[in-house]
Amino acid sequence: MAHNFRSDVAIDWCPGCGDFGILNSIQQALTELNFGANDVVVVSGIGCSGKTPHYINVAGAHTLHGRSIPYATGVKLSNPKLKVLVTGGDGDLMSIGAGHFVGEGRRNTGLTVILFDNEVYGLTKGQAAPTMQMGQRTKSLTKPNMFGRVNPISLALTSGYSFVARGFSFDGKQLKEIIKRGIQHEGSSLIDVLQPCPTYNNINTMEWYKKRVYKLEDSKTWEPVVKNDDSNLEEVFQRAYAKAGEWEDKIPTGIFYENNNIPSFPKRINEYVPRYLENPPSDQKISDKDGYTLVDPMKTFSEKIVETIK
């Protein structure tokens, strides 16, 4: 029987919050991909978005603000058989967690990073998040936003994510498909989800987005996938980056970039720890039948041995 990905926890997001749409899309994607109960783990930081794991009926870790990515990386590297989703806020991933976000691009571990992009710090009452435009003033701000905007798509491309896409929380169908592809992608993916926060963001509302979003896949010439001989790499990458700059009047959604030629971090580890993928840390037996170590230190560290009069 298919696993039910809905947990029985009462959801306490505000009515009309874009988070509901993201949650649904994740649950549907997991169902359609036919995952079992113990195949998937969801990791989050702190924020309204951070509550997501509790609402999904798989193992979940609601960790520290900004640290969802390294926690998730630990889970994935220790047991690469698991699919690991990160559900993070834009404050969480682009501000306090920006260093890890960049670091993960370098690793390309194979996480599916779903960014809840509401331009505000929801759970701390509406301060400007790094995704908010400079000079924009939502109702919770004492003055217009003083800071420049970080574009998650551009930052993901620059950092090395090998799958970069954007969804809209009120277009569940497209979002679900993107999430499915992100999860199936071997390397790390960033899925930026436009997520209205009706409580604090009275500018980037559902209506505001609805007027502006369009789908990249609707254009016949849009091809975000890098060929496996890398021949179109430069072109695809630069086009994706240029596309990422579009905002204000027209906001593209869909897949910006997909590169399957960079081996994931687990695969790279397997080159040096040859039995890693088949027998990762989480699965290794570490003691003999009496409970003692299997490792003979004198053999393992034989180079440290000293023998007199050989």
């Binding site: 783990v41 926690y71 040096y272 037996k285 000293v306």
Partner: protein, 632 residues
């Protein structure tokens, strides 16, 4: 036995082959069957500044270093300036006579303040501020000069470049000749060090040959030390010991961000990550390897290790003060969420960047309290290389058994101490592995139904449960219910009571020496060896002593410590810090106040001789506090 006791200080510029020289000397002693103990000292610098290794060898167990040096080996002029205090009556000073022309003013790699101090010393004593002046000063103190023209002695045997490349081997070989180590042991050492580099090996052997020949013809030969046969032994530093202990203890996931003196531990693990040897020995499921990940920072290091632990792996990270500071928040998380996690904390001289390559023991109270809020943790410390092995194994066990963060304190001195162990006992510590039973629906990871406070362990991939840094219910969902909050807090702290009950006293505190004694030492960490050695020396001068050696600070063995100290006479707290942190912990837990202190915070290792002297001052002259200052 117990006859030979040789202290060597060998110094030269950082990056100039000092480590290799020291390695040769240590190995040569070892091949001769001697015991060796050594500590490395170096600046936070890659090339040029002064670095030295202090090596002590005995035909008996050696656990500490002692000044003055019997031999001071100078591979550069700076060494002569920097180590004048190590020279006393009988110290042989071996150096390249070419150094004699050097002036203190030219020694730009000597720290300004140190230069100033040297200048004052020389001027006060009436000598010139040159190497020559310094050598004369040393002579006046009773030092015996051994000038050698390194280049001219070596040029006949070196054809593949400048002779300077071989100065370190030459210095080491002369030293070995002087102390009476047979050439064959030195040759074995050379073979070990250059094993796989044929051409280099050849010249180095020739240099050794030349050195011994030169010494022979110049009467620079010590009384021959007869080679003794010993079973296979293993030479390890504290860094090595921790790495080995962790791997033996079942660790399969380690993260780190480079930092002195912690990262060597991770590098050693990386070098053995494939656990190649296991390949042919064990069944399929046991094959594998250790994943060692260099992270983008320490925030990532600890959180990644925590994430790994959630899948059931034994996992750890290693760092020193600055990195540990950054880990505080995540330690609190792992305490809240009962994640088994080991943090090996290599203390160095603080605060802040402090003395990044020097010793310190000033992170104890911080380790005991790091992280906001209240949660159970276990804090243990190691005092010698052997302990680093078994303590690392125990740390992993405690983490798994009590589902708490375990902080394992090592100090820089111990990290860079090299000792020779007779062997490693694979059956000393049994691995305590919690059973993980697959279950999803209704799995209560944080079940309250436990008198020990320990709930059944779960693993991502085998169980569905949740974690949150927020207070949570038994399944792991957020709660703000006042009653559930109280119950979960109390459950978590029950684990600490359980640990306190279950962990045997010998893993918490050990008493060395007789029950009654004139003087009682209290200490922890790398002072262990120096104190044990000093106890013997004190006996010789008529002071009996015993030693309360502390190994676990949380949970703290309050009753044991109270009872022992309560009946002790002159209690002396010995620590490498300024505020006597362990003494504070003792007072906090027992109400007893300690009134005598031997403290050292200049970043250098504590030596036997200064301990003996300090105890005399306290015991005989009633001094309350002695600050130790040995070391260059």
């Amino acid at each position: 036995m117990g006859q030979l006791d040789i202290n060597i200080v060998i110094g030269g510029p950082q990056g100039g082959g000092i480590d290799t020289s020291a390695n040769m000397i240590i190995r040569a002693f070892a091949y001769a069957g001697m015991d060796v103990f050594s500590v490395r000292e170096f600046h936070s610098n890659i090339k040029g500044r002064h670095s030295y290794v202090h090596i002590r060898s005995k035909d008996d167990k050696v656990r500490s270093l002692k000044y003055p040096a019997d031999l001071l080996v100078a591979l550069d002029p700076d060494t002569i300036f920097e180590h004048h205090e190590d020279v006393s009556k009988g110290t042989m000073v071996i150096y390249d006579s070419a150094f004699e022309g050097s002036d203190l003013g030219q020694a730009r790699m000597i720290m300004r303040d140190t230069q100033k101090g040297i200048k004052e010393t020389l001027e006060k004593a009436g000598f010139q501020t040159t190497v020559k002046g310094m050598l004369e000063y040393m002579q006046k103190k009773g030092g015996k000069l051994v000038p050698i023209q390194f280049d001219s002695v070596l040029s006949p045997v070196v054809s593949d470049g400048p002779t300077t490349r071989y100065f370190n081997t030459f210095g080491a070989a002369v030293t070995m000749s002087l102390v009476g180590i047979e050439k064959s042991s030195m040759e074995d050492a050379i073979r070990y060090v250059f094993g796989n580099k044929e051409s280099v090996l050849k010249t180095n052997l020739a240099v050794v040959d030349k050195a011994y020949e030169y010494c022979e013809s110049n009467k620079l030969v010590g009384r021959k030390i007869k080679k003794m046969h010993r079973e296979s032994r293993i030479i390890l530093t504290g860094n090595d010991g921790a790495a080995i202990g962790k791997i033996m203890g079942g660790l399969r996931f380690q993260t780190y961000y480079p930092i002195t003196p912690a990262s060597d531990e991770s590098t050693i693990m990386e070098e053995h990550e494939d656990l190649k040897w296991l390949e042919n020995e064990v069944d399929q499921l046991s094959r594998g390897g250790v994943v060692v990940v260099q992270t983008e920072d320490e925030l990532s290091a600890i959180t990644m290790a925590t994430g790994a632990a959630l899948t059931g792996s034994r996992s750890a990270t290693a760092t020193s003060g600055p990195g540990f500071s950054l880990m505080s928040e995540a330690i609190s998380f792992s305490g809240m969420d009962e994640v088994p996690l080991v943090v090996t904390l290599y203390q160095r001289g603080g605060p802040s960047t402090g003395l990044p390559t020097r010793n310190g023991q000033a992170d104890l109270l911080f380790a005991m309290h790091a992280g906001h809020g209240e949660f159970p943790r276990i804090v243990i410390t190691s005092g010698d290389v052997e302990e680093t092995i078994y303590d690392s194994m125990k740390a992993l066990n405690y983490a798994q058994k009590y589902q708490v963060p375990v902080i394992h304190l090592i100090d820089k001195n111990l990290a860079n101490t090299s000792e020779i162990l007779d062997g490693i006992d694979t059956r000393r510590v049994k691995l305590e592995i919690p059973e993980i039973i697959p279950q999803n629906d209704g799995f209560k990871r944080f079940s309250l139904d436990t008198s020990s406070g320990i709930s059944r362990m779960g693993a991502f991939g085998k169980n569905i449960f949740w974690l949150t840094g927020d207070e949570h219910d038994e399944i792991g969902h957020v709660t703000e219910d006042t009653r559930m909050r109280d119950l979960q807090m109390e459950k978590r702290f029950r684990k600490l009571e359980t640990a306190e009950k279950e962990i045997p006293i010998e893993d918490k505190a050990v008493v060395f020496g007789d029950k009654k004694a004139d003087v009682t030492f209290v200490s922890w960490g790398s002072q262990k060896g120096p104190i044990l050695d000093a106890m013997n020396e004190l006996k010789k001068i008529g002071i009996s002593s015993n030693f309360l050696y502390l190994k676990m600070f949380t949970p703290f063995p309050s009753d044991f410590v109270h009872d022992f100290l309560y009946s002790s006479k002159t209690v002396i707290d010995v620590e490498s810090n300024m505020t006597a942190q362990a003494a504070k912990v003792i007072t906090q837990n027992t109400g007893l106040k300690i009134s005598n202190y031997i403290l050292k915070y200049n970043g250098r290792h504590v030596t036997e001789d200064e301990l003996v002297e300090a105890v005399s001052k306290i015991y005989k002259n009633g001094v309350k506090k002695v600050v130790l200052t040995n070391g260059a």
